[in-house]
Symmetry: C2
Amino acid sequence: MFAVTILGNNSALPTLDRHPTAQVITCNDQLMLVDCGEGTQLQMAKYRVRRSRIQRVFISHLHGDHYFGLIGFINTISLLGRTEPLHVYGPPELLPILQLQLDVAGTVLNFDMHFTPLTPEGCGLLFREKDLEVSYFPTDHRIPCYGFRFELVKRKRRIVPEQARQYEIPSAFYSKLGEGADYIRKDGTVVKNDWVTLPPPKGKSYVYCADTRYNEALLLPHVNGADLVYHETTYLQDQEARAWDRYHSTSVQAATLAAKGNVKQLLIGHFSSKYQEVEGFLDECKPLFAPTDIAREGVTYLV
Amino acid sequence: MFAVTILGNNSALPTLDRHPTAQVITCNDQLMLVDCGEGTQLQMAKYRVRRSRIQRVFISHLHGDHYFGLIGFINTISLLGRTEPLHVYGPPELLPILQLQLDVAGTVLNFDMHFTPLTPEGCGLLFREKDLEVSYFPTDHRIPCYGFRFELVKRKRRIVPEQARQYEIPSAFYSKLGEGADYIRKDGTVVKNDWVTLPPPKGKSYVYCADTRYNEALLLPHVNGADLVYHETTYLQDQEARAWDRYHSTSVQAATLAAKGNVKQLLIGHFSSKYQEVEGFLDECKPLFAPTDIAREGVTYLV
């Protein structure tokens, strides 16, 4: 299973029925949290996300609607007796903010918190674990802000059975073929791996573009070909100038990026509190990019 | 109007239907916030507390369930364009925590934030404005923690009309009498103020005891004679040892303090998340102190 569950889809000013940004990514047996606005731990309870299973937290930037809920989440899982380590990725200043709040309360966490600072120079691969690769990239925002690309990579080359049989490769060797090994016959001659296999199939990818202005140069290379992309749409298109001023994007801009990036599916969110209804965002996106969905709170989207 | 509205009545681990500590005090035309756990601004929206009217915030101590919602509240009222100053009272370390979070976001508040540090040495009167006097006192908790006493003081002495007439004081002078002035007759003789007036009537007082162990020496002098006292009851009486270990109180302890303090009414809260129902707290308090109420979220209690 590779899926995204939306816990919050609103921008900075919270409303009663829309919460600040937070998403949970389920990747096989691992849960990861992307951004953590105020009240995220309550949203987790509401939508039955098992807090204890979250192993990694990614914070895109230090505007409050993306991280004010993190210290409460950390506090709670510690009170609940967690012992497994928690990995936190975010701008460098996040660590002293968390540390200061733990210190003044005399809190000693029950678990190890591993913090990895995100920096403009460090962009690229963040970590690789089993089939999962996570990388990060800068977005175009008022303060340093990063998007994340989650990729479920297929590593096994695809065996072409007719070819493998023709070269008389025993089936016991097929798993080595999948790993890319050549086959050496008893007579010493070599069957090159790529004579009998094809490259691994394309993996699945989810790209979270965080808060950003419309910026093809920065974002297109990262969303390109992705199965699912989340792109903010703080405003409808008639507010394009305001979006630019405030380092945000519009409906039409998100749909344009998705279309140019040959994306399979687009999720939109981070709606300004001035919109009581958000269906208008779909109306503006779909003509440009039909497979657009609103990131609805409590809903899980398969990648 | 002098009243307390409960926004949260739970202890550190939030549950779906009980929120961390926060109370709004309405004192004539002024709103004041006492403690501000995560999600307090959403509770304000839910219960229609007008955020913009809050002029003062009191933070008892720096355990997260009492202040993690403050930075979000401050952020929101600034985004909403507030220009009136906000007074914040709390332990000294609160200021750098707030400042750091504003700094990393590049946030410049639209309003002046006046911060007053609470210290063991500074306990006593915090401020006096019109008829309102607020003082603070230490409680018995794991980290420095303060309770607050809000007192609506009556300053006007009560005129005894028969006496005033007997001394032939003109009614135009009555308001000066209320302020304590003596009356000087045309012949130069003096009518002492206390010949014709009585002391001002007793004011109304609300005492918030924050988080604390049962501690008569520290608390009795401050709750004494109060009209309404909030005292935490994290645990039922069978958990007295655990309450002591964790610097908290039980139902029976809160009721005992209220009875010994000649309090008019007791509010209890800060319930441990382990209790799904909280009616049992009333059952344990009422035999010792009948006028006990559960601090129910969304309910306003008159002082």
